[in-house]
Amino acid sequence: MNTPERTTRRLVSALGWTSLALAAAPLVAPDRVARAVGVDDDPANRLLVRGVGARELLHGVLLLIGPTPTVWTRVAGDGLDLALLGRACRSQTAAARARTVTALGVVAGITAVDLYAARRTLRQQHGAWRPGPLELTASVTVNRSPEEVYEFWRRLENLPRFMLHLQSVEDLGGNRSRWRANAPLRRRCVEWEAEITSEERGRRIAWKSLPGADVANSGTVHFAPTPDGVSTEVKVVLHYDVPGGRAGRALARLLGEEPVQQVRDDLRRLKQVLETGDVVRTEALPEGTDARRQALQGPAAPNGAAR
């Protein structure tokens, strides 16, 4: 799904590659770059140009491997470049000044793109603070009308029927709810309160956890009719954090916690519950679809288990 967040990520990555490309010339041929922008080709300026190249390299690496807000470092760098070029304008011949002004124009153009990308990283999903630096999306098609799927989801007590991690969801009224879930990697359960931040009947529910949550999260679930108008496309966009950031996430993944897969499994069970009335179980997978258990499932033989 093409979310605004993903578009921003693509834009930032493109700027990262641009930075790497821009770093090459100043580092390899500082003399030519100096002449091209209309400054004297002396050792001091060459060093300065090399410095600019090295900084571009740094931007590139940061933007490509860091989170999207690193694009602000490019905005700062642009400011520096504009200042340097502006100062160069003052002590020059007319011919050199023309080249400097051209360079200024180019840098200003790049600055505009950088600023646009940087502003996008500030954009928030609900017009409010959005917790959780991690994002995932998952979707499923359910053979029911959008209204039906929406109504089922909106009765939040239904969620644990198909979300394996949840123990319970309690509607506290006034758009607030209390959630209890099995904590990954921990035996105790985690709890948080959340509120529905906006919703459109039959089309969309957006929520976020309230301050103080163990697992800060927010998300939107969209319900849209399929092109043939028969079924419903359910799309979940989730923002969340796990304790320990990137390292915590890697550890959780090693231990079989794959959030995207979990949400996909949840949606598959949602489809089963809405279409068939129950989660589909086998002897090998008594809890039904669950990627974590998939690798560890027992043989396809009765094992004495029952509901």
Binding site: D278, T282, E283, A301
Partner: protein
């Protein structure tokens, strides 16, 4: 209860396992009275289907008596006699609504695994690997049948088990193979494989109006069945060149439709291509040996249909795509959507139009399953189809 369990490639055993129990409201427990070994069980037996585990109960052709129903099953009662289609279908998803029962979107809890291999997941199937659900199969005394309100067909008259047992798979599979060809009066149809599915495909092609049916195999007793019981023309591919022979039979056109009822373990003469296939399959860089499929494509008349009923698991090499594309061939395929054929074929059995029992060569107790697999695999003792009785 006693059940046939897969142990290792070419090794099955009959073991004691717990009785199945209701897991979903729409389950029923069936006491199996007759169950058959399918040619596709041999792909599991030989170890060519991925995600089969030691201890898996095999079997997807079975019928019996209802002994327990879940709260959500109102159309069946204890004591009912039923045949059970091999694909498990919920009856409520879009695929089921469109009568594509073997593509049920809800019956495979391991859909994630299947998606990795195939892109999207088909329905779950009884006793047919964890890739297709991890459901215990019906070569056992009892079996749990999910969505029992959708699949099982009640048999209320005095037809014998043997007359209706093949409604679970091989008869409708053969029928669908012929139906997918859109046979017009006067068409010539060739069928690769004279096992039970090939037999029923040839039979169905005749019912659907084919003027001539040619059956290709190398097992003499199977070719004899096709000739004597169906009136088909037969070709022994070990004795003759199939492509040349078919060209001859059709004055150069080729058969209008080709039905492939062989699948991933096609046998072929000791040719360099067969050695290549066998070697690639052994080192797992090709999962299936598609020799019969290749031949069916090359043999087919321009603009004709190649209907693939043989089971494939993964990937094939040296696929003659140029022949398909340049000659406007249509390839159609699929696990049989058994549910849609149950009643029409039951009617044809009842009216005497079809007598499927002629393919049965062996009737054995369940305990003799290991021997049955062995003779079926090697086509020993003129083994064409085994019915096991628990």
């Amino acid at each position: 209860m006693r059940a046939v369990c897969w142990e290792a490639p070419t090794k099955v055993g009959v073991h004691d396992v717990p009785d199945p129990r209701i897991l979903n409201d729409r389950d029923a427990i069936i006491r199996v009275t007759s169950t058959a070994i399918c040619g596709s069980d041999l792909h599991l037996y030989n170890g060519y289907v991925p995600e089969v585990m030691p201890g898996d109960v095999l079997g997807h052709e079975f019928m019996g008596e209802v002994v327990e129903v879940g709260r959500g099953v109102s159309n069946l009662a204890v004591g009912d006699r039923v045949v059970v289609p091999f694909p498990i279908a919920c009856g409520a998803c879009r695929s089921c609504e469109r009568e594509l029962w073997s593509l049920c979107e809800n019956s495979n809890p391991n859909a994630g695994l299947a998606e990795k291999l195939m892109g999207h997941s088909p329905a779950g199937i009884f006793g047919y690997s964890h890739l297709l659900g991890g459901y215990p199969g019906g070569q056992a005394e009892y079996v749990r049948v999910p969505f029992a309100d959708v699949g099982p067909l009640k048999i209320e008259d005095d037809l014998s088990d043997e007359q209706v047992l093949f409604l679970t798979d091989v008869l409708p599979t053969g029928y669908m193979g012929a139906e997918l060809c859109d046979i017009k009066p006067g068409d010539v149809v060739a069928v690769w494989g004279a096992g039970p599915v090939g037999q029923f495909a040839a039979l169905s092609a005749g019912l659907l109006g084919a003027a001539r049916v040619v059956v290709i195999d190398r097992v003499p007793e199977r070719l004899a069945l096709a000739k004597e019981k169906l009136g088909a023309e037969v070709l022994d591919y070990e004795e003759t060149s199939v492509l040349e022979e078919l060209r001859e039979l059709t004055a150069g056109r080729g058969p209008d439709h080709c039905i492939e009822a062989v699948g991933m373990e096609a046998h072929a003469d000791f040719t360099p291509l067969h050695v290549y296939d066998k070697a690639k399959q052994l080192v797992k860089s090709q999962t299936d040996r598609p020799q019969a499929l290749r031949e069916a494509i090359l043999a087919c008349a321009n603009g004709g249909t190649v209907s693939v009923m043989g089971v494939y698991g993964g990937f094939v090499d040296k696929f003659p795509m140029g022949s398909v594309m340049n000659r406007s061939l249509t390839i159609r395929s699929g696990q049989c959507h058994v549910h849609r054929y149950l009643r029409p074929l039951l009617d044809r059995i009842r009216s005497g139009e079809i007598d499927p029992t002629y393919v049965i060569s062996h009737r054995l107790p369940l305990e003799e399953a290991p021997h049955a697999y062995e003779i079926f695999k090697h086509k020993k003792d003129e083994c064409t189809k085994v019915v096991l009785r628990p």
